[in-house]
Amino acid sequence: MKKIKQANALFEFIRIIAALLIAYAITLLLIVLITDDPIDAVYHFAIGPFTTKRRFGQLIGKFIPYLLTGTGMCFVYASNRFNLIGEGVYSLSGCIVAILAIKNAGIALPPALWIAILLIIGTLVGAAVGLIPALMREKLAIHEIVSSIMLNFALLYLTNYLIKTRVADTEITYLGSTMLPKEVKLTALVNGTNIHSGLFIGLLAVVVATVIFYRTSLGYHIRICGSNQEFAKVSGINIARSLIIAQVLGAAFSALGGAVDILGVYDRYMWTALTQMGFDGLLVAVLSKKKPQYVPLGAFLLAYMRTGATILNYKTDIPLEFVQVMQAVVILLIAAEQFLGKYKNALIFRLAKQEKGEKNV
């Protein structure tokens, strides 16, 4: 028994390492093929994010919101729902927070308190909107993938409209808000970088989510519903309630991510297309095997890959899209349960036989 368990754990580990190696090998091979200076390209891609303070700052600047959207998506993914509303509420929350901050510039509140209020408002807005696809799924059986994606576009246009009509900056050539007032900016932890105090919020969120996951009955219920709904039903768990809360929590964490990102990194609101941060949250959750305690690892890995890709893009002749292909390969291989499954099954077969043999003698 123990051996079979170890075999499974071992394969999980080997699988992830092998996935990374294969994806890297493919990428490197392709880089070598398409660029004149492959060594330079590989260097930028693999080491680039760690070469300067500013670049590492960029990495952390992505890592912070990934912590939040990734945690949020852990709830959604663990409940076996594919609700992508995290993407839409990310922008919406950032937008609402930006507008409130700009309209109330110079407010007579201590900055820390005002920032806290803004973050809470952003989170609540996200939760409220997140309730829509969740209710539609659990009460009306409308598939959450469809409704959340549709809603994401509605939210995108809503934010564009709000920015245009309320706080648009007419001095700039693109659509964006006027500058955010100084008092709402999250403190930079390292000057001249994107490393800001939102890091603590992100890490705190991971802790809170881990507590909810494993230390409350709600977390238990969500995980059981996501794992086997029939069993949840027989166990007398209120399935609809657990799943709705899971999806709303997912939206709330994502929305907090949007608010933190806006106040931490940006001078003005200018997300006029979907940010992909919500979708990336799902990738983080996949990489973390839907365990919030692993989100920092998953978030860091993705932030690292995304930053490397960006650097590669502006330093060499390799297009960004190409690197995204490679990232997709990594994620696919990690997510694919059956990768190397054949070897695993052969091993388990041998162990099961062995065990039976031992029992018989």
Binding site: Y214, T216, Y220, N228, E230, V234, G236, I348, A352, K353
Partner: protein, 517 residues
């Protein structure tokens, strides 16, 4: 040998969780025969057929078709090699027409356009040829089950399959539809087709088939000509007691009624009435055994009591309270525990740790919480540890996923949870099926201890003769959705007598069944 269209030799299949579903199984089918593959639920019949159809890989053994060894790579390959399968659960596109379903994957075209008329023509031709009457233009979703099954058969026939596998085809049919199917199968046999017919209904096998192979607990335990076998011999092979064990138990002293069922009627998913008005009661301190060949309404009775199935008539009371209109949780709270026959589907969450599985039904109780919010980890850990010890669950620490355990240990987890929930009514459905001897013993002893020491009432549904005879204080037999026998003194019942009631050869009158309700 040469007349064998198929032979599967020494097949062994281990599922990913280490469960050995087929072990050294052999099966040979002759040309032009209807070969029965019988065995209880979980014996490994579907697994064996999925292997043959190329659905799942196997680890050992070989498959020969017409004497030649073959490697079947997938369902398409199987069809290519002349093997067609009618699955237990149909694989159809309900929104398409009969013709469209029949030709799916081999659509006739005119240019690049799907040729609807040709499809209908092909379908009608094959339907006429084998006298499987269907209307090619009907939408599949609108058809009754019997006709949908014919569509599946046609799908195999139109692809020129010579060996047809029917996985429990009669489970979903009415008696009339079953009759009709048998006529058609015999017709196909005359036309030279070979058929593997899976069932656990003996009457059907005796009536329809030429030869039989019996699986029990993943192994082939025998095969032979039907005409050389009696129903009794066959039933003995299927349910047979491997060993007659005697369990010591004190005489029960039943007290108040815990469960009472009056005039219960239930329909299954396909709206067929499968429980036809039954009355029974279970009293505190006794085990009521429900014997019967599987599929005679036992599962539905259990599901009605637990609230998973809404009865079409009758009343169920648990500890005096009618359960009508109550949620599953409310019913549980009346004092009910349920050990389901399908342990992976209803009994546990396979991908979750043992710990979570042990606590699933009670985690929101106040006693496990600190400050009314956070789980009291220590209390939970203590309880988990204690249950693991008490029920001898073989694991490291309870943190591993439950699917890593052997079937016996998974069942121990389920039993541990259900027995410790504080309920005073336990509905146990096939609690020891497919489980090793040691665990079986532990589960049976626990059931007896619960009734004798803690005044619990048990409704024990089982197709294991040994179990029902050894454990029950009183016993009923179900056949075709009705209770056909009730015994106040189980000790006096012989295997033969029980067999006759189970197979519908005898039936008690209401007067003979005194003390039933």
């Amino acid at each position: 040998m040469s007349e064998d269209i198929l032979s599967m030799e020494h097949i062994t299949k281990v599922y990913e969780n280490g469960f050995i579903a087929n072990e050294d199984v052999s099966l040979s089918v002759r040309k032009g025969e209807i070969h029965a593959l019988v065995g209880e639920n979980g014996a490994g019949k579907t697994t064996l057929m999925n292997i043959l159809f190329g659905f799942i890989p196997y680890q050992e053994g070989r498959i020969l078709i017409n004497g030649e060894e073959v490697h079947i790579t997938g369902p398409l390959d199987a069809i290519e090699k002349g093997i067609g399968m009618v699955h237990q659960h149909f694989m159809q596109m309900p929104s398409l027409t009969v013709a469209e379903n029949v030709v799916l994957g081999m659509e006739p075209v005119r240019g690049v356009i799907f040729d609807r008329q040709e499809a209908a023509k092909i379908t009608q031709e094959i339907s006429d040829k084998y006298d499987l009457k269907v209307n090619a233009d009907d939408i599949v979703a609108d058809l009754p089950i019997g006709l949908r099954q014919k569509v599946e058969l046609l799908k195999a026939l139109v692809r020129n399959c010579k060996l047809l596998i029917l996985d429990e085809p009669t489970a979903v049919l009415t008696p009339q539809e079953t009759e009709e199917l048998f006529v058609q199968l015999k017709e196909l046999k005359k036309n030279g087709f070979s058929i593997i017919f899976i069932s656990h209904k003996l009457e059907e096998v005796m009536k329809l088939c030429d030869r039989v192979t019996v699986l029990r607990r993943g192994r082939s335990v025998g095969s032979g000509e039907i005409k050389d076998l009696t129903t009794a011999e066959l039933s003995k092979m299927i349910v047979g007691r491997d060993v007659v064990t005697e369990i010591e138990k004190e005489k029960s002293e039943p007290k108040k009624d815990i469960l009472s069922v009056e005039g219960l009627r239930c329909k299954n998913k396909d709206y067929v009435e499968v429980v036809k008005g039954i009355d029974l009661k279970v009293r505190a301190g006794e085990i009521l055994g429900v014997a019967g060949v599987e599929g005679n309404g036992q599962v539905e009775v259990a599901e009605a009591i637990t609230g998973m199935l809404i009865p079409s008539g009758g009343n169920i009371r648990i500890n005096g309270k009618n359960i009508r209109g109550k949620t599953i949780k409310q019913i549980k709270d009346l004092g009910l525990s349920y050990i389901s026959e399908d342990r992976l589907k209803y009994g546990c969450a396979p991908l979750m740790p043992i710990r979570e599985n042990l606590m699933a039904d009670r985690i929101d109780r106040k006693e496990y919480k600190k400050f009314g919010l956070f789980l009291d980890r220590k209390k939970i850990d203590d309880e988990v540890k204690q249950l693991i010890r008490e029920y001898e669950i073989k694991c490291d620490d309870g943190e591993e996923e439950i699917r890593m355990l052997s079937g016996g240990n998974i069942q121990k987890v389920i039993v541990a949870r259900e027995m410790s929930s504080g309920a005073n009514l336990i509905v146990a459905n096939q609690p020891t099926r497919g489980i090793d001897v040691g665990t079986t013993d532990l589960i049976r002893k626990t059931l007896i201890r619960k009734t004798r020491e803690e005044n619990v009432g048990v409704l024990l549904i089982t197709s294991d003769l040994n179990e029902v005879l050894e454990l029950s204080d009183r016993m009923i037999v179900m056949k075709d959705g009705q209770i056909v026998a009730h015994f106040n003194d189980v000790k006096k019942v012989s295997d033969e007598q029980l067999g006759e009631y189970m197979l519908g050869i005898r039936k008690m009158s209401p007067e003979e069944m005194e003390g039933l309700s």
